[in-house]
């Protein structure tokens, strides 16, 4: 059993024992009271062809579970091609959702249930299943052509291939076609509703309320009655199939989680990030000028922001990545909140303009939704390998602050914090998220709007330099004593006209200046300004219940969830481990050095080849151990748990 965890989970496999041997036929047991069995948590993976609508089914199941009150986490996983060849392994799209009656932090290590819409979906996912897991297979798709495309020489539903699992064969396509007959849909079209059949079946299996989905189908397909009716019929057929076919012993239920009180909604990382920007715009009283170029997995931020023009948000789809950041910088010069978002390849392209913003000392937020690299890499898969790019990816000495989001909903806070720092210190800030956070979702106890801080900064309206003759003038590079930020004087302000550029400028006046001592001074001033932000960010908080753990697991970004889950497992076995998560990666929190001093062993899990560990080894001379993963998928808690135990010599 690979997905233990010592947290008292009760998974399908427990039930599977009693379901053994029922493969392919309907039991004659008629249970009058099919009372649901309670589970603490379950991990379900929907997998099918990329045209099968698996992401949609996953989204619906997630929403209805969120509204039901479960805690949850999701992991969409799909190919970069819009429609890879049908039936092939390359074309498999999946959506994993973890629902629980307690607070969870990862989308689950391994699925308890796999819904496989075709042989390729089975083949691509079966290796992830623990023994005893359940598989619901769409038998109609297991025909010779599809089996061959998936690389099966014989039908795995008929041989011993799946003997470790409980297989529920369901002819989803044919039942769907049958069920939708009255809607008038042609069989080929009707087949396309089979994802709703699967959704209906799983909705029954896990005792989800159906109203939310029924309403959603009504609304979403209101304009096409035939499609609406076919999807509805398929959904109900799936639900009723579960109820009446008696292939499944009992349905299961996962009770609502006991979460901190308050008002919740479900949210994905990209939407949370867009909302964070909008909130920051409101709290800084600045209109947002958001310019970006479409790129996976960041495009949804543009899509979301462009819906909210009534907040005064100007969105622009620029001609390229360079134009996008340049437009945002132009907006900042003119007094707006300039923001751009992209993924790794776009950051490469924006590097020169980022250096200019840094030299102009204008506020700007650049969001990097990291994906697998280098080059085009893995556009739809996640990675954390842009940390050193964010840190050092510009020519010259060009430091800038870096803020990283650690969960889908935390993207809101990271965006807000990025804007706060950018405005206060007049600097570009890089906000790092990743593909997993961007597309993953979770319930969010969203903030009370009245409690969001005011992050507005004043524009300069007066001259700031007194000449010897008593006259005054405006110098664009006179610095605030505390923050070292320069004044932000915007066009239209009489008397403060000034010219700034990428050429080195004289301290104070901002005039073009090539003097050696001045350049030395300016390089140091720019570095000190960023380093000084450490005084203005919260200390890193260590989670160490007993206070005397030997091993500290330090993470950043989306590894937070897997680290937290791993630490729970370790602690459940009565062992001690400390964890901490870095939101600010440049500068580091001021207390980080003291934290390292308290722990003899430090482990840093990262979805890269050890980028944060290099930074901390260089900065603090700490012998931090690196645990790396670059498969395009997030860490499993078990992987981190194993390494922690290894470090404890267990």
């Amino acid at each position: 059993m690979t997905d233990s965890g010592g947290i008292g989970q009760y998974t399908l496999q427990t039930v599977a024992g009693s379901a053994q041997g029922k493969r392919g036929h309907v039991t004659d047991t008629t249970s009058a009271t099919r009372r649901p069995e309670s589970l603490e948590r379950v991990v379900i993976r929907f997998a099918g062809d990329s045209g099968d609508g698996m992401q949609l089914v996953g989204d619906r199941f997630t929403d209805v579970s969120a509204a039901f009150g479960n805690d949850l986490a999701t992991l969409p996983n799909y190919p970069a091609e819009i429609r890879a060849p049908a039936g092939t392994i390359a074309g498999v799209s999946s959506f994993q959702v973890h629902i629980a009656d307690f607070d969870i932090v990862t989308p689950g290590d391994v699925p308890n249930l796999l819904v496989a819409m075709n042989p390729a979906a089975l083949k691509a996912n079966v290796a992830d299943l623990p023994p005893g897991a359940a598989i619901i297979a769409n038998t109609d798709a297991f025909e010779p052509r599809n089996l061959e495309k998936a690389g099966y020489h014989s039908n795995p539903l008929d041989d011993d291939t799946l003997s470790a699992f409980t297989v529920y064969p369901v002819p989803m396509t044919s039942i769907t076609v049958e069920a939708t007959r009255e809607t008038g849909a042609k069989p080929r079209d009707a087949e396309r509703s089979k994802n709703f059949f699967a959704l209906g079946l799983i909705t029954w299996m896990y005792t989800r309320p159906t109203e939310g989905i029924v309403e959603w189908i009504d609304e979403r397909f209101a304009k096409n009655a035939m499609v609406r009716d076919a999807n509805m019929a398929a959904f109900k057929a799936g639900y009723h199939f579960g109820e009446t076919a008696e292939i499944f012993e009992t349905p299961f239920e996962v009770h609502p989680a006991t979460l901190p009180p308050g008002r919740y909604r479900n949210i994905s990382g990209n939407v949370a990030l867009a909302y964070g920007l909008i909130a920051a715009g409101q709290q800084s009283k600045l209109p947002i000028l958001y310019a970006s170029y479409p790129i996976t997995p960041a495009s949804d931020i543009l899509h979301e922001l462009s819906k909210h023009k009534n907040f005064g948000v100007r969105t622009m789809q620029a001609e390229d990545e360079i134009a996008a950041i340049s437009v945002a910088i132009g907006g900042a010069f003119a007094g707006q909140l300039g923001v751009t978002a992209t993924s790794g390849p776009g950051v490469d392209l924006k590097a020169e303009a980022l250096g200019l913003a840094l030299s102009l000392e204008l506020p700007l937020v650049l969001v990097d939704v990291q994906r697998g690299g280098p080059s085009t890499g893995l556009p739809t898969k996640t990675e954390q390998a842009d940390l050193l790019l964010a840190m050092y990816g510009r020519h010259g000495e060009a430091p800038l602050p870096i803020v990283a989001a650690y969960s889908p909903s935390h993207c809101f806070d990271a965006a807000f914090e990025g804007v706060r720092i950018a405005l206060k210190y007049r600097t570009p800030v890089i906000v790092l998220t990743d593909g997993y956070l961007a597309n993953g979702s979770e319930p969010w106890l969203f903030p009370n709007v009245d409690e969001l801080p005011d992050i507005s900064v004043p524009f300069t309206t007066e001259a700031n330099h007194l000449n010897e003759d008593g006259s005054t003038e405006f110098w664009p590079y006179v610095r605030d004593e505390t923050t070292l930020a320069r004044p932000w004087a915007i066009p239209g302000t009489p008397g403060l006209m000034h010219r700034i550029g990428g050429i080195e400028k004289q301290d104070g006046t901002g005039n073009v200046n090539y003097d050696p001592a001045n350049h030395e001074l300016m390089v140091h001033l720019r570095a000190e300004k960023i380093a000084g932000i450490a005084r203005d960010i919260p200390p890193v908080v260590v989670d160490d219940p007993t206070g005397d753990a030997d091993v500290l697991v330090l993470g950043w970004g989306s590894t937070w969830g897997a680290i937290k889950a791993a630490s729970r497992r370790v602690r459940a076995a009565d062992r001690k481990v400390a964890t901490a998560n870095l939101v600010h990666l440049n500068p580091f929190p001021a207390n980080l050095g003291e934290v390292f001093a308290r722990y003899p062993k430090v482990l840093i899990p990262e979805m890269n080849l050890g980028q944060l560990s290099r930074l901390v080894r260089a900065e603090y001379l700490v012998d931090a151990k690196s645990l790396t993963k670059v498969s395009g998928l997030p860490f499993r808690a078990a992987e981190i748990e194993a390494r922690i135990l290894e470090m404890m010599n267990v």
Binding site: A66, A67, G69, P256, T258, P260, P261, G262, R263, Y264, R265, N266, Y275, I278, A279, Q282, P287, L289, A291, H308, K309, N310, F311, G312, V313, R314, M316, A318, E319, D320, I322, A323, S326, V327, I329, G330, G331, A332, F333, A334, Q336, G338, E352, A353, L356, L445, F446, P447, V449, P491, G492, P494, M497, H498, R499, I500, G501, G502, I503, V512
Partner: protein, 338 residues
Amino acid sequence: MSDPVVLTKKDFSSDQEVRWCPGCGDYSVLTALQLLMPDLGVRPENQVFVSGIGCSSRFPYYMNTYGIHSIHGRAPAFATGVAVARPDLDVWVITGDGDGLSIGGNHLIHALRRNVNFTILLFNNQIYGLTKGQYSPTSEIGKVTKSSPFGSLDYPFNPLSVAIGAEATFVARTHDLDRKHMQEVFRRAHEHKGAAFVEIYQNCNVFNDGAFDHITSKDKRPDMLVQLHHGEPVVFGADNQYGVRLNEYGEAEVVNVAEVGTDALLVHDEARHDPTVAFALSRLAETPTSPTPMGVLRAVSRPTYEAEVQSQLGAAQANRGPGDLRALLESGGVWDVV
């Protein structure tokens, strides 16, 4: 608010020492514009000059206005940001043939098609000056430079054709030896609502001296500069003895007025929506060695990009009211945990 104080060139000149090479054509462009600005009825604080990289891109430092000396080729994009954020400002883009047509070609064409409300002054000296003399995208084929000792192989761009092809709504040409002409073209460009593209033939006396002498020297101008006047037949020459007509293929060609008669001549219509004739005019001279059109080739009306941006914002606020953050956060289904 009207301001009774009369502004002068001094009000638009910064305290920075101008550092172009002595004899550079850029000086006369700078002076022409600084002298013109008071006549445009604008305030210095409402002007923003944005440039890229190159000799001409030092221009903003010398204007007592707001300015950004940005990075190579990207000035139209920075300026777009300024214009979209602040439609109340006058925005000027200063660029050159390398900056605007080579490294920044993409931004130039997209700014033009969007019709961002700014004036683009492209200083064309057909050479890379700041990097000390390599051929540029407007250098003539066969040009011998440091980077092309056996002659450049690159076929040059015709900047006006590029601009017209990029859906520009205002396209004009002038040259650095005629202050009055420059000022008239700049004034028209500034008045234009939308992206105004002005090519300035500008002499680089160090690396490409005399590139335009064939057409711009005082004695050559009458026979070589084809001055365009809206609504009038296109004629030139000391005695208006030459003209331009469209041939059977729609191409512009130089004719002898006495031979073809006045009625055969092209009557210039800068406001013609279809760009075909303006494009044909832009092709009249392949290189600045034969009769070359000067003045406004095209000036048509189309909504500006930033006006359309504003109008979408206005419509969204009219339809949905000003943004309500609390309502946004609560959108899409919420539940309470007690």
